[in-house]
């Protein structure tokens, strides 16, 4: 595991997303109402760049005539075939047993913490007082 600084927190406000290349891998980082998610930018079903998909919820029903949209903002829908994935776990809603987008741990860290360790945020050396979005893998 190593930590990778993605961007200052101000660049990823709630509702925003960013696709970045970390260590040769394309990773999409999402801020959904303050919750941070990081997913590999490839749909395990058909290979689409999944992180350009729509953030959505689950449509649930107890039977014909009933329709509810639940867990709003927790799912990412692939731009091609519409497979939906739980952003917190990467688990597919269509095929939860076998299909999963690789997900990564992501959190906010204070710049002052980052410069203390071996993982120096070289891109932002003068603004260490800010918070940064950091992906672990």
């Amino acid at each position: 595991m190593s930590r990778h600084v993605v961007c200052p927190a101000a660049e990823l406000p709630p509702g925003a997303r960013k696709v970045v290349v970390v260590d040769g891998r394309e990773i999409g980082v999402f801020n959904v109402e303050g919750r941070l998610h990081a997913l590999l930018n490839r749909c395990p079903h058909g290979g689409a760049a999944i992180c350009s998909g729509v953030v959505t919820g689950l449509s649930q029903s107890s039977g014909p005539g009933d329709y509810r949209l639940e867990r709003r903002g927790e799912f990412l829908r692939c731009p091609w075939h519409g497979w939906e994935f739980d952003m917190a776990t990467g688990q597919s809603w269509c095929d939860p047993r076998r299909t999963k987008v690789r997900s990564f741990e992501v959190k906010l860290e204070a710049g002052s913490d980052l410069v203390m360790g071996p993982y120096v945020a070289e891109r932002y050396p003068v603004t260490v007082e800010d918070a940064y979005v950091v992906v672990d893998f």
Binding site: R17, K18, V19, E26, G28, N41, R42, C43, H45, G46, G47, A48, A49, C51, S52, G53, V54, V55, P79, W80, H81, G82
Partner: protein, 366 residues
């Protein structure tokens, strides 16, 4: 809500032939310069009059971005499928497409009711395909759009285009006004045989005025999409049982985007009844399954995905590995990327056949 598009890295190493790519008009008036003045005026004055039953809008709900890949909208504007550069960047280059066959669906004349306008739109669409796409991108090939409900005009258009090797097949809608085995369509098959071109059947939005399910309008897109299969079954059985392949022994038909998992069941059912009722169809000299296996090819997209992936192998064994052609359906929402879509085991030779060699041979691509 969409993030900027991020390019996928090329990981397809082997070359493929893609038998289903949809080019779109950049603007609603893009065909106008290709229409003769008389029909341009007609088009501008009256518009098109397609064989649809409802007064406005599409007759079925759509999927994703109006039926398109949500990432396929060109940054420079215009609808999905209208930007050749994006087609290259998003599909032809990363997937290593050696040849891509165009299926021009929009306002082509296949479904137009006015015979003169249908012929003019077909002709314009065919010239537009060459001018805007094939001339600009040597990997692409056109399909001849014909006014299929007016076979005399369709034959004239086939004869105008045949001989130009940039056209590799004749396109027909899989939702015609009558089942395609009907004798009024036979001049088209005669012309196809004479030109040495396969017929490609592709679903279009409308249904010759008929409800798409055969028993009314579907409520959900899932139903609408599924009846692509029912249309293809009806047409395959019609072509076979009405004697088209008996009359035109060199005719080749490609069923595009209708699946193929159902093929054995249809053949078994037809054969079973044929043994009992052959007196009714004495014009058939062989069992229906023999015509099906000899005259019909199948494209892969959207590839069936059984829970046990290898179940599909038995079906392909029955159909024949030489009958299956890779197709992507770019830029539609159910696009199949060859690196990911095929989840069943195949030998290197089988892979080469499906992805390239079968199409090279059938369409005589070079």
């Amino acid at each position: 809500m969409n993030a900027p598009f991020v390019e996928q890295k090329a990981r397809q190493t082997f070359a493929v032939v893609d038998c289903d790519i949809h080019p779109a008009h950049r603007t609603p008036g893009e065909l106008l310069p290709y229409l003769e003045p008389r029909w341009r005026e007609h088009y501008e004055t009256h518009g098109v009059h397609v064989r649809q039953a409802l007064q406005s809008g599409l007759m079925y709900p759509r999927m994703m971005a109006a039926g398109m890949r949500a990432d396929s909208l060109p940054e420079k504007g215009g609808p999905a499928g209208s930007d050749l550069d994006l087609l290259r960047k998003q599909h032809l280059d990363p997937v290593n497409v050696e040849f891509g066959l165009l299926m021009a669906l929009s306002k082509g004349g296949m479904e137009e009711r006015n015979p003169g306008l249908a012929a003019a739109l077909s002709r314009a669409t065919n010239d537009w395909q060459i001018d805007r796409w094939v001339r600009e991108e040597p990997r692409l090939r056109a399909g001849i759009v014909v006014p299929q409900e007016f076979p005399e005009a369709a034959v004239a258009e086939i004869e105008r285009c045949a001989g130009d090797r940039r056209y590799v097949q004749i396109m027909l809608s899989s939702r015609p006004s009558d089942p395609l085995g009907h004798r009024r369509y036979w001049p088209i098959y005669e012309a196809a045989e004479r030109a040495g071109l396969p017929i490609g059947l592709h679903p279009v939005g409308y249904n010759g005025g008929h409800p798409s399910t055969g028993s009314g309008w579907p409520t959900f897109y899932l139903q609408e999409h599924y009846v692509f299969v029912a249309c293809m079954e009806a047409l395959a059985s019609s072509l076979i049982i009405e004697g088209v392949f008996e009359r035109f022994p060199k005719l080749k038909v490609v069923l595009v985007e209708g699946g193929f998992g159902w093929a054995p069941a249809l053949a078994w059912r037809m054969d079973k009844h044929f043994d009992k009722f052959r007196k009714e169809v004495a014009h058939l000299k062989r069992r229906p399954s023999e015509y099906l296996r000899e005259h019909i090819w199948w494209t892969t997209q959207p590839i069936e995905e059984p829970a046990q992936a290898r179940h599909i192998v038995e079906i392909i064994d029955w159909i024949g590995w030489d009958r299956l052609l890779y197709s992507s359906d770019y830029p539609h929402w159910d696009y199949d990327n060859p690196s990911f879509a095929f989840k069943f085991p195949m030998t290197e030779q089988q892979r080469r056949m499906i992805f390239r060699d079968n199409a090279l041979a059938l369409y005589r691509l070079a």
